[in-house]
């Protein structure tokens, strides 16, 4: 019996202790007419040996492509130590640290994580994770509505330069509560939100979302946008790539007084691509908003002997205490990914992260140049980018995708569906994992393909 340790003898002695005749009799409170005949579509059990082979074959089927796709999920090098430690049983198979004394490992790590994220984002405090970047944005919006005491509105200004899936998720999660998202269109030359295109008199708005870099990889005018929002009593929700923060201005320093809430996708910090998850959403904010923050927060305190220790705190915001009045319904979050991220940041360090960011930027710039020199594609927007760029191709992007993937190259993400006005565009990304030879391979293939067609 897989994973069940009972011998026949155990069962007998346990039933005797219970005073029951059979295991079956323990289920006699379930009305007979509800009892099922059993499972019919679950296949027969296989041994670990068999499933290992099945899974290895599945994994090999989708095997490693040279990946130039980003769009919210980035291939970075992850030090081997990160997951070797993260998957140690004591982290991997522990529950949420409700019994603080028996969970000091996880709790101290989370406190360290909060410190790192607060510093990276330039915010006062950080929570201990949300599900992913998209849902973190949704939670940030709900939080902003609660936090902005100066505004009575449920209007959120949402640039179209925010990741399209994030916008959908924010909408899907927030719409029940009547939140209104008003889209801001972008400048066709810069691929950014022009500060001077913002309404002079926007009325009562709760918050403005500012992505940096934005979905196109482009850098927004964060200072002007932030100040504009604050002038109009709106809060600023920054949505950022954490790797970029080693290089780019922290949201806490945007404009005159900085953003109010920062959120984003934590995946670049040590989480493998892994088909889109598990990743983790991060969220940080100004101290004054801490009681509006969703998710778990760890505090440092002392024990009976005055010794330093760590514990979950401010639980009165959470569903298990506040129930229908909680700041969010989130309970299980993405702890293990935060474990990996913390170890990742500790190993890579501030200089390492800066180099990862810079190398990713440099590689992308270099790829863009190589691609442009094929004469078959060009950079669409003229603003500086972080590590992604929208390329306009001569040939149809679905054809490019088909031909390239057949050669085990993922050439980028086709964003023409989400932005039909842009034409044959592909969002490309070359992180630090790419060599010059890799970039050249891509460019050569473009040349070859376009010749063919």
């Amino acid at each position: 019996m897989p994973f069940i340790p009972h011998t026949e003898e155990d069962v007998k002695s346990m039933l005797a202790a219970i005073g029951a005749e059979s295991i079956e009799s323990l289920f006699d409170e379930i009305p007979a007419e509800l009892r099922t005949e059993g499972l019919t579509k679950v296949p027969e059990g296989v041994s670990e040996m068999e499933i290992s082979r099945i899974m290895s074959e599945h994994a090999e089927r989708d095997s490693r492509a040279l990946c130039f796709a980003g769009a919210g999920a980035y291939e970075h090098h992850i030090p081997a130590a990160v997951w070797e430690i993260t998957t140690r049983g004591e982290f991997y198979s522990a529950y949420t640290p409700y019994q603080a004394e028996a969970s000091q490992g996880t709790l101290q790590l989370l406190y360290e994580y909060q410190t790192m994220m607060a510093s990276l984002t330039g915010m006062d405090i950080s929570n201990a994770s949300l599900y992913d970047g998209a849902s973190a944005l949704a939670e940030a919006v709900l939080m902003a509505i609660r936090a902005n005491r100066k505004s009575k509105s449920k209007r959120i200004l949402m640039p179209r330069t925010v990741h399209p899936q994030y916008r959908k998720v924010a909408h899907n999660i927030c719409k029940g509560q009547g939140i209104i998202f008003e889209e801001l269109d972008f400048d066709m030359e810069g691929g950014h939100i022009r500060a001077d295109s913002l309404p002079k008199d926007p009325g009562d708005i709760a918050a403005l979302v500012i992505p940096q870099p934005n979905y196109f990889g482009v850098l927004e005018d964060i200072d002007a946008l932030t100040d504009w929002a604050h002038e109009h009593k709106a809060l600023v929700i920054a949505i950022v790539n954490p790797t970029s923060l080693a290089l780019l201005k922290a949201p806490g320093s945007w404009g005159e007084i900085g953003a109010d809430i920062t959120c984003g996708e934590g995946q670049p910090l040590g989480a493998p691509l892994s088909s889109g998850g598990p990743y983790f959403g991060f969220m940080a904010c100004r101290e004054k908003y801490v009681r509006q923050m969703p998710g778990r927060i760890i505090g440092r305190t002392v024990d009976l002997d005055g010794k330093e220790g760590f514990t979950l705190t401010l639980q009165a915001r959470e569903q298990h205490i506040r129930r229908s009045k909680a700041t969010s319904n989130i309970c299980t979050n993405q702890g293990l990914l935060v474990t990996a991220a913390t170890i990742y940041m500790a190993i890579v360090g501030p200089d390492g992260l800066t180099k990862v960011a810079q190398a990713s930027h440099n590689n992308t710039e270099s790829l863009v140049k190589k691609l442009e020199s094929t004469g078959k594609t060009r950079r669409l927007f003229n603003r500086p980018v972080f590590h992604e760029s929208v390329m306009l191709f001569d040939l149809p992007t679905d054809e490019l995708m088909m031909e390239m993937t057949a050669r085990k190259i993922l050439p980028g993400v086709d964003i023409s569906d989400d932005y039909p006005e842009l034409g044959n565009v592909m969002l490309i990304c070359a992180t630090e994992t790419k060599t010059d030879a890799d970039l050249q391979t891509y460019a050569d293939l473009v040349t070859k393909l376009s010749k063919k067609s």
Partner: protein, 486 residues
């Protein structure tokens, strides 16, 4: 010692940096960061040592019996981790087209099929990232269903979700997130829903009811069919909180009980790791009438090829709740687990989980502990109330819990459900051997003796852990949430 306290400015791990990076950036300075972020500057070995040592300060399934009620802390087979982390799976970009994804999608499709069978629901979407997000998806579907009623005109009267008072906090919190009002339904002395109170509560304002069955009181709701009828008759839908699915795998299916929508906690029933707080996965299954509203993406199979279903294909869907396909790696682990168990193994889960719970319940009762529902069978979990100890000896459930840690056992769930005073919700799971159960029972008896003879000892626990009892009040009052250099 915190990792920051081991940091030294200028220390770098060369092996972990991309080489030859031209650091003169062409990004205009207005966009650039001026200060160096407070990340540790430690050697790789220092980091390894620090986090390896930290890990040993945790209790975990791999080291301790962890009878945490409602959490299903059972063995997380190591193969599930190893196989889900094969490079082929880890390296797949979520935007890879279907021609590069047949291996991964095949697993997802098969998992959907398995979950349909297990729950008796008609269709399943895997994407919710934990139980609470599954609940959100479920309640959002109930809203979408009512909104589409009356030939599309909707039913704006249906503003209430009914929730038993024993429900998990995520249930009312979810209802609120979907803008429903929450109405609590009381529990009767046997742990069942108070049917009379339910009858009074339902009406044209009832959008639905959220139920866990077996409930978090550790008993099976025997009149579930009647409840379903009452709610359905009133025009409401039934939501099944699948946190306790472990108790009934292969015995009874939520679909057969009359539920319209269910979420599963794969990190419980399908033994994916809890990871010190996640990640989880909370797939949702639905009855016929809610199929159009399922969250995307899902996976379909056409002529032996697997495809991803998105908003484009399902216009009525409540949409996506994550940027990609939820916690895919968790779903892979659950799939591997399901295949390892197979049909037979899955039946046995509920059987042995129930056997273990009833055994512990009986042995604790024999040892003099008071059960919350002495007339009921335990399901996969049960409740002991320590209210007598609290009153007579001034030793409460928290004290017992902390002292158990000294005995090498993780404490059961305490103070939940809220309606049983000084409660211990105990869930041994099917993967524990009788020895572990007996060890726990002996520890409880020993602590009871201590409480009688030396209450202060129990109240001062724990003594043998990395820290003694922590000051939660100070933590909340004098917020210290990030480290700063002195």
């Amino acid at each position: 010692m915190l990792i920051f306290e081991q940091s030294k400015s200028g220390r770098v791990n060369t092996a972990q940096q991309p080489a030859n990076v031209n650091s003169e950036t062409d990004i205009p300075s207005e966009f650039l960061r001026a200060d160096k972020p407070v990340l540790p500057e430690v050697s790789e070995m220092q980091a390894v040592r620090h986090y390896t040592k930290l890990s040993t300060k945790n209790f975990s399934i791999d080291t301790h019996f962890y009878p945490l009620g409602s959490c299903t802390m059972k063995y997380n087979p190591r193969a599930c981790n190893t196989l889900a982390m094969l490079p082929g799976f880890l390296n797949r970009h979520p935007d890879s087209p279907a021609n590069m994804s047949q291996g991964f999608l095949a697993c997802m499709y098969d998992l959907q099929e398995i979950l349909k069978d297990v729950t008796g629901m008609k269709e399943v979407s895997l994407s919710p990232m934990a139980g609470a997000q599954g609940e959100f998806a479920g309640i959002a579907m109930i809203r979408a269903y009512h909104d589409a009623s009356n030939g599309g005109k909707g039913d704006p009267e249906r503003t209430e979700i009914l929730v038993p008072d024993a429900a998990h906090g995520t249930n009312p919190a979810t209802a609120t997130m979907c803008n429903f009002k929450v109405r609590e339904i009381p529990t009767n002395s046997d742990g069942d829903v108070d049917i009379e109170a339910l009858k009074e509560a339902v009406g044209p304002h009832t959008a639905g009811i959220m139920l866990t069955n077996p409930s978090t009181l550790g008993v099976f709701e025997r009149r579930i069919k009647e409840i379903a009828d009452i709610v359905h008759k009133a025009g409401g839908l039934l939501y099944y909180d699948g946190a306790n699915l472990n108790a009934i795998l292969g015995k009874v299916k939520p679909g057969d009980m009359g539920f319209d929508v269910i979420h599963m906690n794969l990190h419980k029933t399908f033994s994916t790791p809890h990871g010190g707080g996640g990640p989880g996965a909370g797939p949702v299954g639905v009855s016929e009438r809610l199929i159009p509203y399922l969250p995307v993406p899902m996976v379909t199979k056409v002529d032996d090829e697997y495809h991803v279903v998105t908003e484009k294909n399902n216009a009525q869907s409540i949409g996506r709740l994550s940027a990609f396909m939820g916690n895919s790696g968790v779903l892979l682990r659950a799939y591997i687990y399901a295949r390892l168990l197979g049909c037979d193994g899955m039946h046995r889960v509920a059987e042995y989980a129930t056997l273990n719970a009833n055994y512990m319940m009986k042995q604790l009762e024999k040892a003099g502990f008071e059960l919350a529902f002495p007339n009921r069978k335990a399901t996969h979990e049960f409740i002991v109330t320590l209210k007598k100890q609290a009153k007579d000896l001034n030793v409460n459930a928290m004290d017992f819990a902390k002292r158990l840690l000294d005995y090498g056992f993780h404490a059961p769930t305490t103070y939940f459900p809220l309606l049983v005073p000084e409660c211990f919700l105990i869930e041994p799971t099917e993967t524990e051997a009788q020895d572990a159960l007996d060890g726990f029972i002996e520890a409880m008896i020993a602590i009871q003796k201590e409480a009688e003879t030396d209450a202060e000892k129990v109240k001062g626990a724990p003594y043998t852990l990395p820290v003694r009892r922590l000051d939660d009040v100070k933590a909340a009052k004098e917020l210290d949430l990030t480290w700063t250099a002195e």
